[in-house]
Symmetry: D2
């Protein structure tokens, strides 16, 4: 079974068992996702870009948890909206590829506003 | 090949072709992720929770793009830090399960701070 | 002395005494501001809009601290960029007033994307 | 009249004229504030810290608008919660001063997590 579908199903079961669907409106899940993204960013706050490339083992353990939280809320939110997350991401990569042609984007500081 | 690994590899190639690794420090990627999470949240701003459950087809198209952007930056950030995103998410679900036992968490407004 | 100028001066002194100007780049301050805004939002997460209007005294104490943090980083960031915060806010109110004429905006769910 | 009180009153009038109080729950205003903080941060995304200290005149015009939006939502949110923003900020500076004594915090990378 595709891995994101497995995560989605685990989260459905998790919420159902606790009767939490009532709280999982897209509005609330988007807020929670945004809060987790900020907690993730906080690990790199006041660090230089170079320092951010070399977290300590302890820092990395905390970062890993925040990365996980973001993915869990993202999968849950996509599920509540009936969106296929993987399909959307694959489509977006194609959009970005045509938006940022290799020859014109190479190391170009005006263009790297997308992955 | 696992789907998140495939996404990770596509993003590696995308950045390498454009010589963008230099800009993809964890600090910058965490900022970008946080900005995308806010753009996603913006779709539900000023809406009621109920309204957020029923976006129009046009709204959903925009939401789908933001969901994709968040996943792409998340996968890229995890890769730059050498973190296995799927493994971390599966581990976090177990942590949450023990943190929020079904019997004590059922519909409990003090407990649903996690998925 | 205008109150925001007094805050600005206190923050200048605070940073100078600790030799923290080096860390107070607009990029870092904007990240810190965004993190504080998320911590503020977290207080209302999982609450209904109605509940958010009635925090407990204990919750309000925490909210007050986050409101203060946002203002402090905002004043510091504006100062680092040489922006007159008050003047900018007064100008923005005029922009919004012409953007959202009273007669067309009254209780209108398509328009209230600004204050 | 103190400048923040004047802003607060302008925003009260602005909302009342448009019958927008109904949308200005603390939950919604905190979301809007967080979105504006992200739009502000977006101006510095992909820039180096040094670059962020030198925006172009055009960039600065956009940044000024975002700084204003953050202040407007912050003042409106504090008002909806009955919080004196200035008083809270002055109190927080004192808290930070005792939390980060000059002698121990000087240029210290472990301590500068506050302004």
């Amino acid at each position: 079974m595709p891995e994101l579908d497995a995560l989605r199903d685990s989260l459905r079961e998790f919420a159902a068992e606790r009767d939490w669907e009532q709280f999982h409106s897209p509005k609330n899940l988007a807020m929670a996702l945004s809060v987790e993204a900020a907690e993730l960013m906080e690990h790199f706050q006041w660090r230089s870009e170079e320092q951010s490339r070399h977290p300590t083992a302890e820092e990395l353990a905390g970062i890993r948890e925040e990365l996980a939280d973001v993915l869990l809320y993202l999968v849950r939110l996509a599920d509540q909206l009936g969106v296929d997350l993987l399909e959307s991401a694959q489509a977006k990569i194609l959009v970005n590829a045509s938006k940022y042609p290799v020859d014109k984007s190479r190391g170009n500081s005006r263009k790297y506003t997308e992955i």
